[in-house]
């Protein structure tokens, strides 16, 4: 699969919405965002952790709970109007082709190399750059294996849910004792990504540390943009997205859905 995507016009990018059964306000804000994207953007990319957990596409296809059904419906409406890409995160990496078919989205390549009106932009979820977290990278390598995924998806939904809950509790317990720098991206991994892909702009989510960082790689001025995570269940709320247009990328943060 080619990693290149050519996009003309205004592109919106969001990640880390972490939708689940207990996030009604965040879902509401996200649905309004999708309506807005449909009207104002020429393409929408959601690059990972849209869902707080994903235990298989069959879960979404077969009798989805209300909150999920509503989100899927909104995504369908987006893809009926503009191109929609969905990328995998570290929470919803089991999203697959069946979900794409259902929502009318295309699966985002990893990494995606966007050719936009603002130039070339490298886009990924970002967990692969947290290389200081050796334990997580080991877990990632294992669960990304197709054979492991096939085995997991062959289990009953109940069993899958149990395993997912267990994995999440374990991850939360171990993250408690990890230093802040281990949970962030590794500078060397970022430099390598810039150098390997010859991009000057890198966009990712995952770390929940929204910011625009300027850095120099091999004498070239580069920009690393970190997408915000969404939490509208608590006040002050926060969320946001990136607008990529001819005048360059611009980070939009919002405490309220408009």
């Amino acid at each position: 699969m080619s990693n290149d995507i050519t996009l003309a016009g205004v592109v919106w990018v969001a990640s880390d919405i972490h939708l689940g059964p207990d996030t009604p306000e965040t879902a509401r804000a996200f649905h309004q965002f999708l309506d807005q994207a449909r009207m104002q953007a020429n393409a929408l990319i959601l690059c990972g952790d849209i869902f707080d957990a994903w235990i298989g596409d069959d879960f979404a296809l077969r009798d989805p709970p209300g909150w999920l059904a509503c989100s899927l419906d909104k995504l369908k409406r987006v893809s009926a109007g503009i191109p929609l890409w969905i990328g995998r995160g570290n929470r919803d990496f089991l999203m697959g082709e069946r979900l794409m078919a259902l929502t009318g989205a295309s699966l985002l390549p990893e990494p995606a190399c966007l050719h936009t009106d603002a130039g070339k932009i490298l886009l990924t979820h970002g967990d692969e750059y947290c290389t200081a977290d050796a334990g997580y990278q080991r877990f990632r390598r294992i669960v990304r294996r197709p054979c492991v995924q096939r085995l997991f998806l062959a289990l009953s939904l109940k069993l899958r849910r149990g395993i997912a809950d267990w994995a999440r509790r374990r991850s939360m317990a171990s993250n408690r004792y990890k230093a802040a720098h281990i949970m962030d991206v590794d500078p060397a991994a970022i430099e390598q990504a810039f150098a390997r892909h010859g991009a000057r702009t890198l966009v990712h989510g995952h770390t929940h540390r929204p910011a625009v960082h300027s850095l120099t790689v091999n004498g070239t001025a580069c920009t690393r943009i970190v997408l915000p995570d969404w939490d509208y269940e608590h006040q002050p709320a926060r969320g946001g997205w990136l607008v990529i247009g001819a005048d360059g990328p611009r980070l939009v943060q919002a405490s309220k859905s408009s």
Binding site: H234, Q235, P236, S255
Partner: protein, 169 residues
């Protein structure tokens, strides 16, 4: 009363000195001082800590039990003060005029929290003071390790306690 009263927050991470803006946020300042003088904040914790965003406290005790407050106050976010780094603003629910005791310290320039219009979506969060000493203490709090506790996210795993809040004469 001074138009710039000062309040000292003695925390288990060090001292934070705050200067309030009674000229631009008279009601919010008076409300905050009432809670300080009553000793309401003594023993409360910073219960929502998000690096690159804000640190929020003044509503829960160390057992994550929410404290009984006075009536909510009017939102003074239209006073021109911005939610910039190290400013102090009132927390609230989705209702713009619902702030009681909980406040937060911005640890980034959070433009998106500023007043834009007198509508439910545009009210923003009322800034009423700023940290004048102890920004290093705020910086130490913002990087605290956090986890989930009950329905709450981003709760420091080790309590960050306001041991005493006092008005500095």
């Amino acid at each position: 009363m001074s138009t710039t009263p000062r309040v000292k927050l003695l925390t288990n991470k060090g001292e934070i000195l705050i200067e309030l803006d009674a000229a631009k946020a008279p009601k919010t300042t008076a409300n905050f001082l009432t809670y300080v003088k009553e000793g309401f904040y003594d023993g409360t914790i910073f219960h929502r800590v998000i690096n690159n965003f804000m640190v929020q406290g003044g509503g829960f005790d160390a057992g994550m039990k929410q404290k009984q407050t006075h009536a909510p106050i009017e939102n003074e976010a239209d006073n021109g003060l911005k939610n910039n780094r190290y400013t102090l603003a009132m927390a609230r629910t989705a209702d713009p005029h619902s702030a009681t005791a909980q406040f937060f310290i911005n640890v980034a320039d959070n433009d998106f929290l500023n007043f834009t219009a007198p509508t439910p979506n545009g009210w923003g969060y009322a800034v009423f003071g700023k940290v004048v000493e102890g920004t290093d203490v705020v910086d130490a709090i913002k990087v605290a390790k956090t986890g989930n506790k009950g329905f709450h996210q981003d709760v420091p795993t080790e309590d960050i306690v306001i041991e005493k809040a006092t008005v500095v004469e």
